[in-house]
């Protein structure tokens, strides 16, 4: 089934040609924005099409990816993690089981996460469009730091909207953004987290459309954002696919990635969508459990409209948005990118909720067995391994996207473990 020379251009009936010309992935996606923003969204779509067809744009993007971001990121075989789940399989009476675990090391990128891939692409678009100011929303602060970084690199003024709750729990990233020259605006409306930061960024944008570019941090929002963020993040999956083929001569059996908005997951999944033997698992934040507070939009929500797109949302029967909860600030959002909603509905990818406690366990396991401190977001992806690795054969291969490093999370983890720093 898997051979060393598998072409990777979209096939007829490809799953990789979405969205349609109106920005819809099946019933999801679209452009649900205020009329004031609509002309700008259409401009952005035109400009992105032109950029995609411009070899100079790709050349500059690739050059920055290599020399500024430090790509390609390694694809790493995780021997002790693999052995750990083989031992678990044997203990379950299945000594022949235990898949090989590989990590895509996005945490080694400049700024410590996959977020920078998208920011490089969007700031190049902003400059093409002649915009002179940059705004962004951020939850954990990773996207804020990545945006502040590219703004410093290109000399554009940067304003970051961040929920006041997140400002309090992510002080190191707030200071990083300030060091990089960004202005950080704490948002106090609602629960003062990522959703509210996005509302406030949209309010600012609508009043400054003439000169301001909004760098959205995940593969969500009005078309063309879900498409362009996915395209910029697809460098993850393209590299992983080529790297594994080169190392093993075959494709993986399973991809695992954490899903908040879902940009690291769609970046890994998308280049494999037409590889029918490759299965995909998106891991949602199950918080305290699905019967309590959580952030699992697909498993615990239903389709609705928020922040410019139609997608699965946590909401009540009146369509009021309910507050999300996750130990990971980056997953603490009541929605998900529209392409994931579509992949979920057509069954091409599966989605699994993982609780705060499961993520904490996986976080520590990864530190101890592989010498890698993962972000709490990525720890959610790692926490799916006990569910799947012991059930798979030893010759099978899992790639987990380690989307970010966990230095930013050590305070949250210490608190959860009852350790005073």
């Amino acid at each position: 089934m898997n051979t060393a020379t598998i072409p990777n251009s979209p096939l007829p009936n490809s799953l990789r040609t979405q969205p349609d010309e109106r920005g819809h992935f099946g019933q999801f996606g679209g452009r649900y924005v205020a009329e004031t923003l609509m002309p700008l969204i259409l401009d952005l779509e035109r400009e992105y099409k032109a950029a995609k067809a411009d070899p100079a744009f790709k050349e500059e993007f690739d050059d920055l990816m290599k020399h500024f971001v430090g790509r390609p990121s390694p694809l790493y075989y995780a021997p002790r993690m693999t052995e750990h789940f083989r031992a678990a399989a044997a203990a379950q009476g299945k000594p022949e089981n235990g898949a090989q675990v590989w990590f895509k090391r996005e945490e080694l990128n400049h700024t410590g996460a996959h977020k920078i891939n998208n920011c490089i692409g969007q700031i190049l678009l902003a400059i093409r469009m002649g915009k002179t100011k940059i705004i962004a929303e951020t939850g954990a602060g990773q996207h804020g730091v990545a945006t502040a970084t590219v703004c410093a690199r290109f000399g554009l003024p940067c304003t970051i909207f961040m929920g006041a709750t997140d400002v309090a729990r992510q002080q190191p990233n707030v200071f990083r953004m300030k060091l990089l020259g960004a202005e950080v605006i704490p948002v106090t409306s609602g629960a003062a987290t990522l959703k509210d930061a996005m509302n406030e960024a949209l309010r600012h944008w609508v009043a400054h459309v003439h000169d301001t570019f909004y760098i959205i941090g995940t593969a969500a929002g009005p078309h063309p954002y879900p498409e362009l963020v996915r395209d910029f993040q697809s460098v993850i999956g393209k590299e992983a696919r080529a790297q594994l083929l080169e190392r093993t001569g075959r494709l993986p059996d399973l991809l695992i990635a954490a899903v908040g908005g879902g940009s690291n997951a769609i970046g890994l999944f998308h280049p494999f969508l037409d590889d029918t033997d490759v299965q995909m698992l998106g891991v949602e934040a199950g918080g305290h459990g699905l019967d309590k507070e959580h952030a699992a939009s697909l498993t615990g929500g239903k389709p609705g409209i928020l922040h410019g797109n139609k997608t699965y949302l946590l909401q009540d029967e009146d369509g009021q948005i309910t507050e999300a909860h996750s130990i990971s600030a980056g997953l603490d959002y009541p929605g998900i990118g529209p392409e994931h909603s579509w992949l979920h509905d057509i069954g091409r990818a599966k989605y699994l909720p993982i609780t705060d406690d499961q993520a904490m366990e996986a976080f520590q396991l990864c530190c101890q067995l592989e010498g890698i401190i993962p972000a709490l977001e990525s720890a959610h992806a790692l926490a799916a391994l006990p569910e799947v690795a012991p059930k798979m054969g030893k010759d099978q291969i899992i790639i987990v996207n380690v989307s970010g490093r966990g230095d930013k999370d050590i305070f949250t983890v210490a608190e959860k473990l009852g350790v005073k720093l």
Partner: protein, 266 residues
């Protein structure tokens, strides 16, 4: 349904369109505030449907949304308030204004049928631009509910036909690129914009965003068929709570007087 709306803009003078958030401060307090708007001389009433994430609104209406939801306002309360209003005021057009998700949560067909049943004349939805009309437009038109669209300073002449297509009742001209209740547009820019839009539609045009005083309302009304006032009234509700009807009626009367006589100023 649209009959009431077209009549409101055919009185030979500009119309005053007023907005308050439904259920603010409580669902029980809303009917008296609506009655005060009518008694003050409002020609069209916009009743805001509260939403958790009012991303096109400034601080005043954001706070009103949260007060309403905190008081436990449900979609069923909004329709009950609308239906009772229709029974008390058979002639005054009533428009529901809000965000897409509460309108489509049970399906657009359900929503449009409820509007028709409650005697609602039209809908203004902030985040369904003409590109996404299929989401709600066909259901509204099938039930005879006007879909009132918004035009903005960024809506250029090329785009205007798409905005007007499928809309009825009136066109809401958002006079500033921004959120509700904040800065105010220059009168000259209104004059120019309304003239431009007029060339593309026969719909009456009501101008809103940032209109707070009778003087401002009169200046805008001189160049349009209507003026929308929201945040200034919502501020009175914030200030006076369940006792807001009196102050709301006073401000509405002053606004109505200014707007209805505005053309005489030009």
């Amino acid at each position: 349904m649209t009959q009431r709306l077209s009549a409101a803009f055919a009185k030979g003078r500009p119309a005053l369109v007023t907005f308050i958030t439904g259920g603010d401060p409580t669902p029980d307090a809303t009917p008296a505030i609506l009655d005060a708007l009518v008694a003050g001389g409002a020609d069209v009433i916009e009743l805001g449907m509260p939403f958790t994430d009012p991303m096109a609104d400034g601080p005043a209406i954001q706070a009103a949304n949260l007060r309403s939801l905190a008081a436990g306002t449900r979609t069923a309360d909004i329709f009950r308030i609308a239906k009772d209003f229709r029974a008390r005021h058979p002639e005054t057009p009533l428009v529901l204004m809000g965000y897409a998700n509460p309108m489509v949560a049970r399906g657009s067909e359900w929503f449009a049928a409820q509007c028709a049943d409650a005697g609602v004349d039209g809908i203004i939805c902030v985040d369904i631009p003409s590109e996404e009309d299929p989401e709600i437009g066909p259901a509204l038109r099938a039930h005879g509910i006007s879909f009132i669209r918004l035009a903005t300073p960024t809506t250029d002449t090329a785009r205007l036909p798409a905005v007007v297509d499928g809309s009825s009742g009136f066109l809401y001209y958002v006079s500033v690129a921004g959120v509700t209740g904040k800065q105010q547009a220059a009168v000259d820019s209104i004059k120019e914009a309304v003239a431009r839009i007029k060339s593309g539609t026969d719909l009456p045009i009501a101008v809103g965003f940032g209109v707070r005083t009778p003087e401002q309302a009169a200046a805008f009304a001189a160049h349009a068929e209507g003026v929308v006032v929201g945040s200034a009234l919502v501020d009175l509700v914030a200030q006076h709570g369940a006792d807001a009807a009196g102050p709301v009626r006073e401000l509405t009367a002053a606004l109505a007087d200014a707007v209805h006589n505005a053309k005489a100023l030009v």
